[in-house]
Amino acid sequence: MSWLAVILIVWPLAWVLNIVLVRSAFGGSRAVALAVPLIFGATLLLLWEGLVRHFNVMPVILPAPSAVWSTFLAMRETLWGDFVQTVVKGALSGYAIGCLAAFVAAILIDRSSFLTRGLLPIGNFVAALPIVGIAPILVSWFGFDWHSKAAVVVVMVFFPMLVNCVQGLRETEPMQRDLMRTYAASYWQGMAKLRLPAALPFIFNGLKISTTLALIGAVVAEYFGSPTRGMGFRISTGVGSLSIDLVWAEIMVAALAGTCLYGVVAWIEARLCFWHPSHRK
């Protein structure tokens, strides 16, 4: 049986299965919420695999998912080295420094309403700028190793994080702050018990936006010079030497890393912001 026939049969079947699942009595359950996107994703993978096999697409143009997977297994050590270089050393250290710095800056700025009114519009503007472009400058300042990648990540995550933190700190109502004052709460007590918890949804929004930015920054910075390892390095040299399956394996690692990072932040958020309407069951 040809691959095209398999696609033409399985695709509509999966489609109908999903519709049945959603409309069934279990439509609202967790299992269905998990199964439906998984079936959808699996169908897409099958579509990719089938089309590549049916049309005999050359592996230098688009390798099949199975070929990517076998490359992934064969090159585990290289991929792990790249992952450590780019994600752990470059992206995560920059992410931690940048987010922490923005958080501290937000608390300092928040004490003066003059500074808040001045910095919030500017921060909003800068957060909309294509800051990735600063990568070559920072690479020439901090050298080729992971320090320059971390620096790019710091600059990229700082402003979105700052804007979210500052906005979150303004989230409490005057009534609530007055209540804290009647309890004779000090500035830091009011901060810790009222304003920071109220700011958490905003802070996590910033943290979530920053996870993707961190990976983008770390990978782009490697296009401008890196030691002979790292995901951006492997991708740019892989495209040059036509080892496209390795590039796709690297993309897979990047996708997994990005999704896991986001998932971890979202998981912590769900634990800490259980009181927020968007997380109530």
Binding site: N18, I19, V22, R23, G27, V32, A33, V36, P37, I39, F40, G41, I61, L62, F114, L115, R117, G118, L119, P121, I122, F125, A128, L129, P130, V132, G133, I134, A135, P136, I137, V139, S140, W141, T211, T212, L215, I216, V219, V220, Y223, F224, M231, G232, I235, S236, V239, I244, V247, W248, E250, I251, A254, A255, G258, T259, L261, Y262
Partner: protein, 310 residues
């Protein structure tokens, strides 16, 4: 004016800090250059200077500090230098009638703007189609939404070179399309999320009212859901256009493009002309500001016509 004063103050402080950072950033380059030109600097020899801190170098060469503001290839140029370079590659060239020559940033800005708008249109179409599908079909919401979220956690830059390779293999000429795909990928998500919220903004009462008027599904879409979603649409359009510009510049950076603002940054890096990088960055910032401000003005007009005030 109450709003302008704090902003201007902050901008002024940033400018002062920037100028203050120039001498320490540039003093080593400046001293190396001066020594190569045969002038006397203290201490002599690159190796000796490397042992000293930047503060010591600044103190022992006070007459060199002025030079750090005027270097041709500074590590950190002054804002004035960047503005001069930007003017030299845009306004001055336009006055000479060479505004669209390949050395002018107007030309490169235009290339970037074109791909940004193409990607934005593509992302807008995708986002709107997805939002309509999600609003009307629960199976679409269940199967599309998780993947839409996951797609945004994937660093698109990793995919960018592959998109360029693929589209050139398929036989697409030029870099317009791959760049547009990359920016569409980045900008469809905010539009999708905003429009799902917007299309579901009408209350049950309003939807019921339309039902009592026996409005068809299409009519309730055009007359209630779509108008109700306008504020959400514009809020997400502003996020989306900024993302589209980032996408285009990212698409130009790693892929060996030769025109566009991202390519100017890349070329500036390869030829060691920092001023060109900074000018291209500033041009990109101005472009981003103009796009967002334009959408903001459009939003005000539309919302005022709908009687919602500015």
């Amino acid at each position: 004016m109450r709003a302008a004063l704090p902003i201007l103050t902050v901008i002024a402080v940033i400018g002062v800090l920037w100028y203050a950072a120039v001498p320490p950033m540039n003093i080593r380059v400046s001293l190396d250059l001066a020594e190569r030109m045969g002038e006397s600097v203290t201490p002599e020899g690159v190796a000796e200077r490397r042992a000293l801190s930047i503060a010591q170098l600044l103190i022992s060469n006070p007459d060199r500090i002025g030079e750090t503001f005027r270097l041709e290839r500074p590590r950190l140029p002054t804002p004035g230098q960047v503005l001069t370079e930007l003017w030299a590659t845009t306004g001055a060239m336009a006055l000479e009638g060479r505004g669209f020559s390949k050395r002018s940033l107007i030309y490169h800005g235009w290339i970037t703007l074109r791909s940004t708008l193409a990607g934005f249109a593509l992302g807008l179409a995708l986002g709107l189609a997805g939002a309509v599908a999600i609003t009307y079909a629960r199976v679409a919401e269940k199967s599309l939404m998780p993947w839409a979220i996951i797609s945004q956690t994937i660093p698109i830059v990793a995919l960018a070179p592959m998109i360029v390779v693929l589209s050139s293999q398929i036989g697409v000429e030029g870099r317009g399309l791959p760049k547009a795909i990359i920016s569409a990928y980045l900008c469809y998500f905010p539009i999708l999320v905003g429009m799902v919220k917007g299309l579901n903004a009408p209350t049950d009462q309003q939807l019921d009212l339309l039902k009592t008027w026996s409005a068809s599904g299409l009519q309730s879409f055009w007359k209630l859901r779509l108008p109700a979603s306008m504020p959400y649409l514009f809020a997400s359009l502003k996020v989306g256009i900024a993302a589209a510009l980032v996408g285009t510049i990212v698409g130009e950076l790693p892929t060996g493009a030769i025109s566009g603002l991202g390519a100017r940054i890349l070329i500036g890096d390869q030829f060691g002309t920092p001023l060109a990088i900074w000018a291209a960055l500033l041009a990109a910032a101005i472009l981003a500001g103009a796009l967002v401000t334009g959408l903001d003005a459009m939003q005000r007009t539309v919302l005022r016509r709908r009687g919602e005030g500015a």
